[in-house]
C-alpha cells in the first residue's frame, strides 16, 4: 500500500499528472459561478491530486510535499472560513450568511453576493479536500 509502486512508468506518470489534476481542481472551485462544479467537486479533484502521489510514490517522498497534518488542518481552516462567512455579515448588521451586508460603499449588492459565493466555494473546497485526505491517511495508517 505505502511505499513505492513497483512500476516506474506508473510512478512517473502519477508524479507528472498530480499537479495538473490539482490545478484543474482549483479551476473547478474558482469557476463554479460559470460552469458545473464548485467547492465540492473541486475539493474532491484537488484531493485526488494529493492522494495520487501517496498511492504510488515512496512514503517519505509523497509526504514531504503534503504532510499528513494537511488533512485535518485544511478541513478545519475551511470550516472556520465558512463560519466566518456566516458571522461576518452579522457583525456588519445583516443576517447569518447574508453577504449583501458586507458590501463596501460603492459596491453593488450583487457583487458582494458574488464574492461571498466565491469565498464559500473556497471554504467548502478546503473542507472537502481536508476531509478526504484525512480519511485516506487514516486508512493508509499514516497519522503522525
Amino acid at each position: 500500500m505505502t511505499g513505492g509502486y513497483p512500476s516506474e512508468v506508473v510512478r512517473v506518470v502519477c508524479t507528472v499528472l498530480s499537479p495538473f489534476i490539482a490545478v484543474f481542481g482549483l479551476y473547478v472551485i474558482a469557476h463554479g459561478h460559470y460552469g458545473p462544479g464548485g467547492g465540492f467537486a473541486g475539493g474532491v479533484i484537488v484531493a485526488v491530486g494529493a492522494i495520487l502521489p501517496r498511492m504510488t510514490l515512496a512514503e517519505d517522498l509523497a509526504y514531504r510535499a503534503i504532510p499528513s497534518i494537511t488533512g485535518p488542518l485544511a478541513g478545519g481552516i475551511g470550516m472556520l472560513l465558512f463560519i466566518l462567512c456566516g458571522v461576518a455579515p452579522m457583525l456588519a448588521g445583516g443576517a447569518f450568511l447574508d453577504y449583501e451586508a458586507l458590501a463596501i460603499a460603492g459596491m453593488e449588492a450583487a457583487r458582494a453576493r458574488y464574492l461571498g459565493i466565491l469565498a464559500v466555494e473556497i471554504a467548502v473546497g478546503l473542507a472537502v479536500f481536508g476531509a478526504l485526505v484525512l480519511i485516506y491517511d487514516v486508512l493508509a495508517g499514516r497519522t503522525d
Partner: protein, 179 residues
C-alpha cells in the same frame, strides 16, 4: 433525453450492481462500483443535471474507489465464509419488498421536467429568474448552493468534516502500549 439510451444505461447500472454483489474478489467489486457510478453520472448528465453528474463522476467513480481499495489493502481481499440460506431468504424478501414499495411510490411522482410539478412552483422560479441579477452568477446551481441555501451547504460541509474526524478516531492505529 433519449429513451433507448436511458434504457441501456439503466440496464448497465443494474448489471454492474449485481456483478459487484456477486463477485468474490473485492477489488473487482470496487471496480464494478466505480463503473456503476460512472454510468450513473452519464444518466445524470442526460437529465441535464451537470453539476450532480460532475460530483458523481469525481467522487463516486474516482475517489470512493481509491478509498475502498485502501480499505481492502488494509484488511483482506477475499470474502470468507458462505452466507446461510435463511439470511438469503430474509434479505431477498426485504429487498423485493422495498423495490415494490419504491415502484408503487414512484407512480405518484410528476413526470420528469413537468413545469406543473410542485418542486417548480414555489421558490424555484424566483431563484431561476433572480440569480443573475441578484448574485451575478450564471450557474443557478452554484447560486442556490452557496447563496440562497448556503445554510444547507454549511450543514453538509459540517457533516463531511465530522464524518472524516469520526473515521479517523475509529481507525487511527496506535502503537502497542499507548493508551
Amino acid at each position: 433525453m433519449i429513451l433507448s439510451l436511458d434504457i441501456l444505461l439503466f440496464a448497465i447500472l443494474i448489471v454492474t450492481a449485481l456483478l459487484a454483489l456477486q463477485v468474490k474478489d473485492l477489488l473487482t467489486a470496487v471496480a464494478m462500483l466505480a463503473g456503476y457510478s460512472l454510468f450513473a453520472a452519464l444518466l445524470f448528465a442526460g437529465m441535464q443535471a451537470v453539476d450532480v453528474a460532475f460530483v458523481e463522476a469525481a467522487l463516486g467513480a474516482g475517489l470512493t474507489g481509491v478509498l475502498l481499495i485502501a480499505a481492502i489493502l488494509a484488511t483482506s481481499r477475499r470474502i470468507d465464509g458462505q452466507e446461510g440460506m435463511l439470511r438469503r431468504v430474509v434479505v431477498g424478501s426485504l429487498v423485493v419488498g422495498f423495490v415494490a414499495l419504491m415502484l408503487f411510490a414512484s407512480g405518484g411522482l410528476p413526470d420528469r421536467g413537468d413545469p406543473e410539478a410542485p418542486a417548480h412552483q414555489r421558490v424555484a422560479p424566483a431563484y431561476l429568474e433572480g440569480s443573475m441579477e441578484q448574485t451575478q452568477t450564471p450557474n443557478v446551481v452554484t447560486a442556490v448552493l452557496a447563496d440562497y441555501r448556503s445554510m444547507d451547504t454549511l450543514g453538509e460541509t459540517l457533516v463531511i468534516l465530522t464524518a472524516a474526524l469520526a473515521a479517523s478516531l475509529v481507525l487511527v492505529r496506535r502503537e502497542e502500549g499507548e493508551p
